[in-house]
Amino acid sequence: MSDTIDQRPVAVVSGGSRGLGLALVTDFLARGYRVETFSRTESAELAALRVPADPGTLTWSAVDGTDAEAVQSFVAAAVRRHRRIDVLVNNAAVGLEGLLTLTSPATIDAALRTNLTLPILLARACLKPMLARRTGVVVNLSSINALRGQTGVAVYGAAKAALDGLTRGLAREVGPAGIRVVSVAPGYFDSDMTAGIGPEQRRRIVRRTPLGRLGAVEDVLGVVRFLTSPAASFITGQTITVDGGYTC
């Protein structure tokens, strides 16, 4: 085993401790990937996915995504370990709600660093081993808030819209090297991020959704699975909306 090169593909997932990130890590492992993930805190669910006999299968690091140097070191360690990165999923993000004029500049800055600067820096670092091998997929988790205006989430929506701009620009930039870049824009799905949505708002969302329910992590997961598979090998530079028809 030790002198044969590990042929398993490698996925980097930001924010793998909870919610969609945890589901993505689980799914990539089930698909035979080695996974590198980080978050500020580990969860019991993520720890349970570790394979003690083969520690290289899943690596978690404690990294605050607002620390650019720590993010850089995280990717450098992943590349040293595996010599390749096949998939990057820019999943980590923080929710930010409130009228703009009532939100402090420091809060805005922190949210932009996690929701925009972090995915840009991760793309910059992970694209290098992808360029070297001339293959790879970057998936950016956007939101329907990038596509439709909504009160209280202007800054969150601005960061997500910027991420879609990154998707389009990078798709052109690295397409000739065989690398695809896509965005997935989910509607509301159940996770810690949406735990604060009250019953009345929930009913309103369901009423406005043609498919008549909130999303689930699995709905988004299936689309990421498709986009990172050979079935999607001619899709790049697009934002795929997964919202039960909410924005149609």
Binding site: V79, R80, R83, L127, K128, P129, L131, A132, R134, E173, V174, P176, A177
Partner: protein, 97 residues
């Protein structure tokens, strides 16, 4: 000191090998490059080729001189590239465009 010059020579060779591989792919079979050859105008490299070259070299040498020290725009010739990766001589490079 001796050890240092061996490292320099090895690095030079690594950079040359990686460059030759990409030039071969872009311009057809070439087995020798001159230091004064222009990467873009004479060898036909595009910016994405340079990005790939820098990525390959970062994996091999664990360093990317263009992250901080050297602007990539100052690399015009084969010699500029070799100097950018030289642990001793990081200058002088041509003027940025």
């Amino acid at each position: 000191m001796r050890n240092g010059s061996v490292i320099r020579m090895n690095r030079r060779e690594t950079v040359m090998t990686a460059l030759l591989e990409i030039v071969n792919e872009v311009a057809g079979p070439v087995d020798h490059l001159d230091e004064d050859q222009s990467l873009v105008d004479q060898l036909g490299l595009e910016s994405l080729h340079l990005a790939r070259l820098v990525a390959v070299l970062e994996m091999e040498l664990d360093t990317d001189p263009f992250t901080a020290e050297v602007p990539i725009t100052s690399v015009r010739t084969v010699g500029d590239l070799l100097r950018a990766y030289d642990p001793v001589v990081r200058a002088p490079l041509g003027d940025p465009a």
